[in-house]
Symmetry: D2
Subunit: 341 residues, 4 copies
């Protein structure tokens, strides 16, 4: 099998470590660089003692001034604002798979308003494809900048896009109540000193202000005649990983919950990483942890014109590293499930 | 101080142990019986090694055939269906403070439909007062059967009742998305063998079928011209205790989020166990764990006719044992906060 | 591949569920019965929502009065005292792989003294082989009663037996300080009501009285000229699974820590499930959770005639279900690692 | 009551936050400064949402160049190497209560060898008193530099010192196997990126190399005719707080376990923060979490000349902030339990 030369920037963060775990066993990958800001020269096993066969992997090194010319694909799992300049440095045949928000928002003003930094690569923005694998597969195959979705958006967009395409729901009344383990909200926990605040705590945060909001609304609006606005409320749960989104919807006239179930079932019929279940099934993160799956349940409401949808993903896999590798497989012509099941 | 002779039935369950903890340090209480079904003769310290001074407490004994004549107040923290017969056995001066659902539902048919057991004390049902302390204080003072609210209902009714009374919200569009630690959903985890299902798991359950639903709708409807129906979705969170309810509301015409905040602030102005906070505050269970507090936050929504309310309680305290003792204090003329702060 | 017909008794306990998980994907196994005492007729997925493809598995049924004639191998993961009668009912070609203590103790009096029940199958006791896979492989291959070691003993015997065989340590001065997640001490937590006692708690228990003691001493003494007695102290750790045993040893004259390391390295040279590491390695349960591995580290002590050994296993895998399947593979001529890596 | 003006340096670390919690409710304390390196100007409630009435507390500020002249007592909860220079800056009437190792080791060479930094205040070292409250009470009362013991040493020294004083044990054969929640080993977890390594993990670490070793040996040796060396092995447990030390001892000739129990019972007879329990009691951290207690159990061993002692503390309270405040109370003539029970 051909070997793609791969670098991972931000290799020692939660998402970066997941990328290393998945890519280290990928038969079509040769990991050539593991970039981080500190702990240079250390083995990646220092950061996660569950990673195996780390002897074959390169030591942690600094991205700055590194020669990126021989890299075929670079995964960037960095704070927002850092992938712009990396994108500009890459030669034109290299592929960037960015896991930050840097290329997610197509509108420069919206990006700068929500992320409080200038967009430094607006010309490249046009080339970027929003890497929601099951939805944008054809585009992903033909771009060199793949911008992977946020974890919350992945859990919300996958169930909603087919329903909006088919006009089954009232797009004025969408409420998404999301619950996430703290690895997902990691960027908010800026400092380990905040640990007392997450130990055995359930918290609501960022009401109406979470940065995943514009991204969700942008992607939903693509499939609608007018801009969609939603109510989105994230919550922090005292466990390391997993997202459960509970979505409250009003149905279009004469649409039933069964129509919704069938629509999703048909739409994702051939997908390996999406499972649609019926009303009688309990849905939970346990079933998807450490997998690239998104499980979606459609529940009836006693109000016949309403339904409840629940979706679960592992925020570090389908919500980050797993979907990134799925996109990598799509882009490079590998089997889409390679190294992911 | 006068000493009330108190028995606790179901003393070894999660809620029962909380009752023991609180009542053991109550200066107006003499605990005379700790009833359970098994482990008879054991010290209560066997069941929770954090309870102090257990030497002064009676050993665990069997309720069946016990003489209840000398008991002034009995707390019953038992599975539903068991408090009916106890209520009938009590002499007329004794007070029953029931923490199960047995006297919560005023309609016999509704009770039997949701709880799948016959109601065996329908004549006593009329005497029972729904023990939501801050709302029904005057009634609690004058009854011998106090039926304590469920944990989810406490977290939902306290913020909603004042708003419905003042007609600030659209009562047709209430969505309550509740998250609970597993001690609260304990009855669902019938068997410790299910532990693998709660370890590090986020789950949605009982959509549209949870037994706390009829109780919530019954109590909300009291303050409305017609019956209120709500969408209520419980979730199981991988931590022992704490409930956070996120409530999505539509405002009545011309009502603002500030009106809602002021309404709640005024209504609970003098309450020691309720705190109303503004939009800028993160709200979380950490602040209320092991206390009898209910904290409520009012959040603006970008849709001006909508708001989001979050409320947090400790399900075993304000949602169970704490509110029960608060009711005990009200009924017996003690300071309402005695042994609770 | 030939298919062995397998029954699992106690299928809904922690260990039973692990057996189901491993055996359900074993290409040489057809699971014909899943026995439990209650919840009859339920799917095994009810007990653990992470088990996959449960549709092909039989529903939970009652062992009592079941016809066991067509079963090739029965795994018994039951409380002690129950495997004796099952063993007597089996036809002579069937294999019993018992995960309880019922056939571990070769001396009837010792068994009855520690387990407080009569030994009802003393004639079969002689046929039973102590299923410490790496040590007793040849015997396991040729018996129809395999008695799998306890979880603590597995973690203690594997590092000690080679050292005693080679006379490298003073057998009068062995101290094993073991730490276990609560799934391993499950039998001690007789009742879910005790949960408050394990939530975020570190505890020492059963000092000098733990039932795994006689089993450890019996197996160590086999390799010594006189009976070995040890100091063994178990501790309960607030996590679900994993055992770490820290073993304090005095060396025989002129023996160095390097000799100990080499002895273990040589002894387990070809073993797939045992890894010996040097002093510089941190050792921890993370590396072995959900695997059948036992990792062993040899640490120098500043007292030159002493060393410290640490060993880690997953108590539900190498300490229970995994080793049981390893023994099954040995007994039936499958590759020893089948379905285990 | 007189008010002592108090500053806390390192106020936003785990130990610092505990100090704030305790001192904020101390009737004899006015907190004038909360020093940290970053997040200047923030309210302390940002770091721990469970701290109450934080409005009265000063905002976080920078120690560097602050005027310390008006401070009566400064608590320093900083990495080692930083308290030396603070000590030198204080005016001669001010009291330093240091929670780092900077003044624990009386020998300059030993300090520098283990802590890899120069000792910058060797002249002040002589004035420093080792703040093990129950043992050095008289000295603490009369010094202006109180060096609080490490968490592990507190759990080990309290049970051992009385036994060594009375010559009840063989001081050549002391083994201490300690288990700690990760807040105690916090300094080892240098970076939140290491979180994957502590999530649900039991680990042994620092065998023979832990920096608390020289401090334990120094303090034990004071009561012995010759230098004592011990075997000390720390372990990391997947819970936030709590230490359990299991200590394996050989008795002096003709000494019984009962003699040991009596010795400890007598020695700590009047102490409010130490409880000695007998062999039949399970001992665990649950009983001491969030308290300043040290509970000690004496267990018989089947070898009559040996015993096992277990001790438990909350590493952040008796092992750090609580003992520091106890020392503060002793030094300033307050009741020793003030703000601690």
């Amino acid at each position: 099998m051909k070997k793609i030369k791969v670098a991972i920037a931000g290799a020692t963060g939660f998402t970066g470590l997941e990328l290393v775990k998945i890519l280290a066993k990928h038969p079509g990958v040769q990991i050539t660089h593991l970039f981080a800001q500190s702990n240079l020269g250390k083995s990646i096993s220092f950061f996660d003692n569950k990673i195996k066969n780390t002897k074959k992997l390169p030591k942690v090194s600094l991205l700055l001034n590194s020669d990126l010319d021989n890299i075929d694909t670079i995964f960037t799992a960095l704070p927002h604002g850092e992938a712009h300049s990396i994108a500009k440095k890459l030669n034109k045949n290299s592929v960037l798979i960015d896991l930050s928000a840097d290329f997610r928002i197509s509108n420069k003003t919206t990006y700068e308003e929500w992320y409080k930094v200038p967009h430094l690569a607006t010309n490249l923005q046009k080339k970027a494809v929003y890497g929601l694998s099951e939805i944008n597969r054809a585009l992903i195959k033909n771009t060199n900048i793949i911008s992977c979705p946020g974890c919350y958006p992945t859990s919300i967009l996958l169930p909603l896009i087919p329903l909006i395409k088919k006009k089954l729901i009232n797009t004025n009344l969408i409420i998404a109540d999301s619950k996430s383990g703290y690895s997902g909200a990691g960027k908010k926990i800026e400092d380990k000193k905040l640990y007392p605040n997450i130990n055995q705590n359930l918290a609501i945060y960022g009401v109406g202000k979470h940065r995943h909001m514009p991204e969700i609304e942008q992607e939903l609006s693509i499939y609608n005649s007018k801009k969609i606005q939603i109510t989105f409320t994230p919550h922090l749960i005292p466990t390391f990983r997993g997202i459960l989104s509970t979505i409250y919807l009003d149905l279009s006239k004469d649409v039933t919950s069964n129509d919704v179930y069938k629509c999703l079932k048909d739409f994702y019929n051939k997908e390996k990483f999406i499972e649609i279940v019926t009303s009688n099934n309990m849905i939970n993160t346990n079933k998807v942890l450490n997998t690239n799956m998104c499980n979606i349940a459609v529940y009836k409401n006693k109000f016949k014109n309403k339904i409840i949808i629940a979706s679960v993903i592992d925020n570090l896999v389908k919500g980050a590293a797993g979907q990134a590798v799925q996109n990598f497989n799509i882009r490079h012509g590998f089997s889409e499930t390679l190294s992911l099941i």
